[in-house]
């Protein structure tokens, strides 16, 4: 009995001390950079240029926010709209098309299945060939257009979605399909009215994971949608890196502005994001 309480006492000490040490270490390693972003974004220009990790003597948070939005006739606002259109558009297409593929791929055994499975895995592994993609996009007349970039994001993000949908469809009993067929449903109605609504939980996961990926994407917009008109937030932020090198307060205000949508997503969809990103989709 005494040894048992000894163990639990040791456990409690471990729980407290271990937790406290971890809180301090993670605070230094993970929270300080974010605090630095926030504090620098709140300073005036002169103080921010010192790059000190310190409390602002003069809070200029809202002035900086206003200045960032007014910079170059509101390029940030344009970029926000572009990023939103890109994210929403590509995810809407991606979800519907990949759900259709994942569903048929799981339900129908045909001689094409091995080829399709191979292509899906290839989409996860193979790095896209940049210049040939531009060449194809030019031939199709969609290079340097927002809808062109939307299709790019769809093509590159589809593999992950298909694997998620295929795995989930496997858990929906076939009896449900048969009942719907008995009731007179055709293939389209069966999918969109019966199966698709049942995919809701995995759809939410796919949407949040792909929203993070597409919203944060830098490489594809850089290659396939150059120029100011269609610039997305990440590309604008990158371009500002050169222009704002003497105005760190505005630079970090920009980073903060870009982080906010992800922070909100994380607060609301914490569980789905974690589930999606750790699902180990590569296992197929």
């Amino acid at each position: 009995m005494s040894s048992a309480t000894g163990i639990s006492k040791a456990n409690r000490a471990y729980s407290r001390i271990g937790g406290l040490v971890a809180i301090v270490v993670t605070a230094v390693v993970f929270l300080v950079p974010f605090a630095f972003i926030f504090l620098t974004a709140s300073k005036d220009r002169a103080e921010a240029s010192m790059l000190q990790f310190s409390w602002p003597t003069q809070w200029a948070f809202f002035e900086n926010l206003q200045e960032v939005f007014e910079h170059r006739d509101g390029i940030i606002i344009t970029a926000f709209i572009n990023s939103t259109l890109l994210t929403v558009g590509s995810i809407a297409i991606m979800v519907i098309l990949s759900a259709m593929v994942g569903y048929v791929l799981q339900r129908r055994k045909s001689k094409w299945n091995p080829l399709i499975n191979f292509l899906v895995l290839a989409g996860l592994i193979v790095p896209p060939a940049v210049v040939p993609t531009i060449w194809v996009m030019q031939a199709l007349g969609i290079y340097k257009t927002l809808h062109g970039l939307i299709f790019i994001e769809v093509a590159f993000g589809m593999s992950f979605c298909i694997l998620m949908f295929r795995a989930f469809v496997a858990s929906i009993p076939r009896e449900l399909d048969e009942a719907a067929i008995m009731d007179g449903a055709g293939p389209v109605r069966l999918f969109f009215r019966v199966i698709f609504p049942l995919l809701r939980s995995v759809i939410v996961t796919v949407i949040v994971v792909q929203a993070v990926t597409v919203f944060n994407d830098f490489q594809n917009p850089l290659y396939f949608l150059p120029g100011d008109d269609g610039a997305t937030l990440q590309v604008v932020l990158y371009a500002l890196q050169g222009q704002f090198s003497t105005q760190w307060n505005l630079m970090f205000m920009n980073i903060l502005v870009i982080m906010v949508p992800m922070l909100i997503m994380y607060v609301f969809f914490n569980r789905q994001i974690v589930a999606g990103m750790t699902s180990g989709a590569v296992k197929g």
Binding site: N11, Y14, S15, G18, G19, L20, A22, I23, T26, F30, P33, F36, I37, M50, L51, F53, L97, M100, V101, V104, W112, L119, G123, I125, V126, P127, A129, V131, P132, T133, I134, W135, V136, M137, I152, F156, M158, I162, D177, I181, G186, P187, F215, N216, F218, Q219, Y223, L237, Y238, F252, I255, M259, L263, M265, Y266, M277, T278, G280, V282, K283
Partner: protein, 310 residues
């Protein structure tokens, strides 16, 4: 619905609707192949075609409008010019360092965070959140924090009497510094993959071990570690694919510099593209493709086969 009724009234309805029912054995599936079509068109046009085209264009001198076949010259250039070839070496170093670190740190953090400590939920959230911040944002922030003179990191080191290195200005350090930031940003995913694995271990194993008098270390070594193989396979494959293709973070932090010391294949592809050497850029892409295929496919096959056997 037509399927269920076809066998009996074939002859009767043949007059009213001849084409579909003229051939009775052909039944329309409820899972039509055309469901593949829209996705297939986009995927083929923007991914499959460019991938195959890259093999041809990597053998040409190419200006988008016309291309001239020059055989393996681009690859010869690639492997003979040190600043191009080093990018291949750097890519491998970067990918191996980041994935190894994510495996080790991720596993240790996961063991720690699934033990009985206070504030577990908070700690998990904090470690995971950097994953959601864009690489550009993280890159800009850390290039400021890692500044050799004004940067926060070296200021802190100076306070404890250490003369901090020029993290991203020293050619010997730059690549590893970027790799460290990559680890900082990505270790959260690895940790959560491992936590999911650890939570799934049946408690009976640990109870049996306790009866046998095993301590925490032996628990880890003989129970947790062997059962973490599938999770490790996932972490390694995910981070290798990510690491080999990595571009955003390197480009925002160092642009491949100083000199060419932190250039990786993806940044070389971009530089040659900007310079208008489309053939050479595409050759870089093909080299990256072959490298990824050579590393990931055998690993994929090997690790997956082991899982099937279990």
């Amino acid at each position: 619905m037509t399927d269920t009724h076809t066998p009996a009234p074939t002859t009767a309805s043949a007059s009213s609707e001849p084409p579909p029912k003229a051939r009775p054995p052909k039944r329309k599936s409820m899972y039509p192949m055309w469901f593949y079509a829209p996705a297939g068109v986009i995927y083929t046009a923007l991914f499959v075609v460019p991938t195959f085209a890259s093999f041809y264009f990597s053998l040409t001198r190419w200006t988008i409008f016309d291309s001239e076949f020059i055989g393996l010259d681009n690859f010869r250039t690639f492997f003979s010019e040190p600043y191009l070839f080093d990018s291949l070496v750097n890519t491998i170093i970067y990918a191996v360092v980041t994935s190894a670190a994510k495996v080790v740190i991720g596993l240790l953090l996961a063991v720690f965070l699934s033990s009985q400590i206070i504030a577990r939920g908070y700690l998990r959230s904090v470690i995971f959140f950097p994953t959601l911040v864009s690489a550009v944002g993280v890159g800009v922030t850390f290039s400021v924090l890692m500044d050799p003179f004004d940067g926060l990191i070296n200021n802190l080191l100076a306070k404890v009497g250490i003369d901090g290195p020029g993290w991203i200005t020293d050619p010997d350090m730059a690549l590893l510094s970027v790799a460290a930031v990559d680890i900082w940003r990505g270790v959260g995913i690895a940790t959560l993959i491992y936590i999911a694995g650890i939570v799934a271990i049946p408690q009976e194993y640990f109870e049996a071990a306790r009866v046998d008098g095993a301590n925490a270390f032996r628990n880890f070594w003989h129970i947790t570690l062997p059962l973490m193989k599938p999770a490790t396979a996932t972490v390694i494959i995910l981070s290798l694919i990510g690491g080999l293709r990595s571009f955003d973070l390197i480009w925002t932090m160092t642009k491949g510099g100083p000199g060419f010391s932190s250039d990786v294949l993806a940044s070389v592809v971009y530089k040659q593209y900007q310079a208008g050497f489309y053939g050479l850029s595409t050759a870089g892409n093909v080299v990256l493709f072959l490298l990824v295929a050579a590393i990931v496919i055998p690993l994929f096959w090997f690790l997956n086969r082991k899982q099937v056997e279990q």
